[in-house]
Symmetry: C2
Subunit: 304 residues, 2 copies
């Protein structure tokens, strides 16, 4: 099952005609996740052919409008289109109160349940976990309480060499241990080695999302070795003072985090509306971390 990230909005606080505010759609081993939901996100879903009714989890990093003003509209449209399946929403303190108030004045009860999870913004923790994926949250450093997110595939089981097992009369009840990489003792007292009866599968992959934040080294341990990192890069170096006063990152800040965390690839977004394009960001990032890409609305990346 693939692991992909679709950029629904790559802009910063001021949306432009080409860059919507922050939102991303992540599919990871069949789980369908939205990270942040700036104004206009529901139209971005339509524009890029992603079905929002199938979304199961929505993660909101913080309560600056460009990261969540589109959430209530998305939920309203899910309702109008008759959604029945419940949805999980994760966000900082205050988000539930805002949503509840808007829905109350809207005058209609939603056609589906919202399960709301208020996230700690001072300590990292697990937002969601099942047999396939793990979603962690961890604090960023911004003007208001803000979380970053890490989405990881769970370790996959080894692939059983079923014909070999049958030929050697390996008991079916041993299969689960062998697939988990454990040796077992046969009835004859001989050890049955998992390496003889299973194949290694590819390593589990991971994606981390860090927006918005100043340069903040504590995140390095949270995102260490991820295959793909999205990090905000609101400003180029010539606006370093502005980055500092607004608690945002420059491209070089982001690239330094990527380098120190030994990530596979770096995506850069949340570009200030003052830039016509991301060419300067790209130049500056690649001086420090070669595998850097400036994202645009509609881009889709595979986590590899």
């Amino acid at each position: 099952m693939s692991f992909t990230v679709t950029i629904l909005g790559s802009g910063a606080a001021l949306p432009t005609k080409t860059r919507n505010p922050t939102s991303q759609y992540v599919e990871c081993r069949g789980r369908k996740i939205v990270i942040d939901c700036g104004e206009g996100t529901q139209v971005q879903f339509r524009k890029y052919g992603v079905k929002f009714q199938k979304v199961e989890h929505i993660l909101i990093s913080h309560l600056h409008g460009d990261h969540y003003f589109g959430l209530v509209g998305l939920l309203s449209s899910m309702h109008l289109l008759g959604r029945k399946k419940s949805i999980e929403i994760y966000g900082p303190d205050g988000l539930k109160q805002i949503l509840d108030l808007q829905l109350q004045y809207g005058g209609s009860r939603l056609s589906f349940e919202i399960n709301f999870h208020t996230l700690d913004t001072t300590n990292s923790g697990i937002a969601f976990e099942d047999d396939k994926i793990l979603i962690k949250h961890f604090p960023l450093s911004h003007k208001v309480p803000t979380n970053g997110f890490l989405i990881q595939e769970k370790e996959k089981e080894r692939t059983l060499l079923i014909e070999k097992c049958q030929r050697d009369n390996i008991k079916i009840q041993f299969y689960q241990y062998l697939k988990r990489g454990e040796n077992v003792l046969g009835d004859d007292g001989k050890e049955i080695r998992f390496e003889d009866y299973t194949l290694k599968v590819e390593k589990s992959k991971s994606y981390a999302f860090c927006s918005d934040t100043r340069y903040f080294e504590p995140i390095i341990e949270e995102i260490k070795d991820v295959n793909l990192l999205y990090h905000e890069a609101t400003f180029t170096e010539d606006f370093r003072d502005r980055a500092k006063s607004t608690m945002h990152s420059t491209t070089k800040d982001a690239a330094n985090i990527a380098k120190k965390a030994s990530v596979g690839k770096l995506l850069l977004g949340h570009l200030s509306a003052r830039y016509e394009n991301g060419s300067q960001h790209e130049l500056e990032a690649r001086e420090i971390f070669e595998n850097s890409v400036i994202v645009e609305d509609g881009d889709k990346f595979e986590v590899i």
Copy 2:
């Protein structure tokens, strides 16, 4: 000074790629007014080249999301772009509370003042009045408390024939009476007739906005003889039952209101997302009221 209506959003509850939710920009004798502000309205301003920083008044008809979810984002962008000039916002009970809560969690104080006016939604009244224009609100009939709006030019003064006044030695202090259409007595006891020294100016014009509402005859007296009427037409006749259950209007409902109110021209919008275009709406409307137009995002109309 012109009187124009620009359609920023012509869609209904579900935005589509071509129809944003409801918003209109009205310029009337130099006054700059927004009516409703659905999600994504700030980007529509940019798209259609209208400067939102100059807006002075924002009128919100009701608290269904497709009529106001873009308001907080618009205000946030005004703030980020350094607006200093205060703004007047008019809306039903609840709107101020929602805005305050969102701004509170956003963590920054706006760079400008909001003067909030909670409007009565059960009786008509005056929302704003100065020497140039009058804005009235009046109740519509929808699932939640909803207002329609009437924007009227004030009666203009007659144009003084200044050279003739000077030639006949008409005292300057008489000018104001003549311009208002009043005769005055000269020092010689002779009547100075306003019609001899002034010209009639064109009649004051008016625009009415009615969205969302079921067919509701009490609005007829509120909008009688307006030059231009916008009335929602969410459904065509084949969805009359749906119109009834959702408290919306069909195109024929809207056309009947326009006819009974003897308006000059009828604009129809708030088309349900189920329609690919407005051709059926137009056919049905024109059977009853010939001067009907289906609006599209970006359309601009002069009130004549």
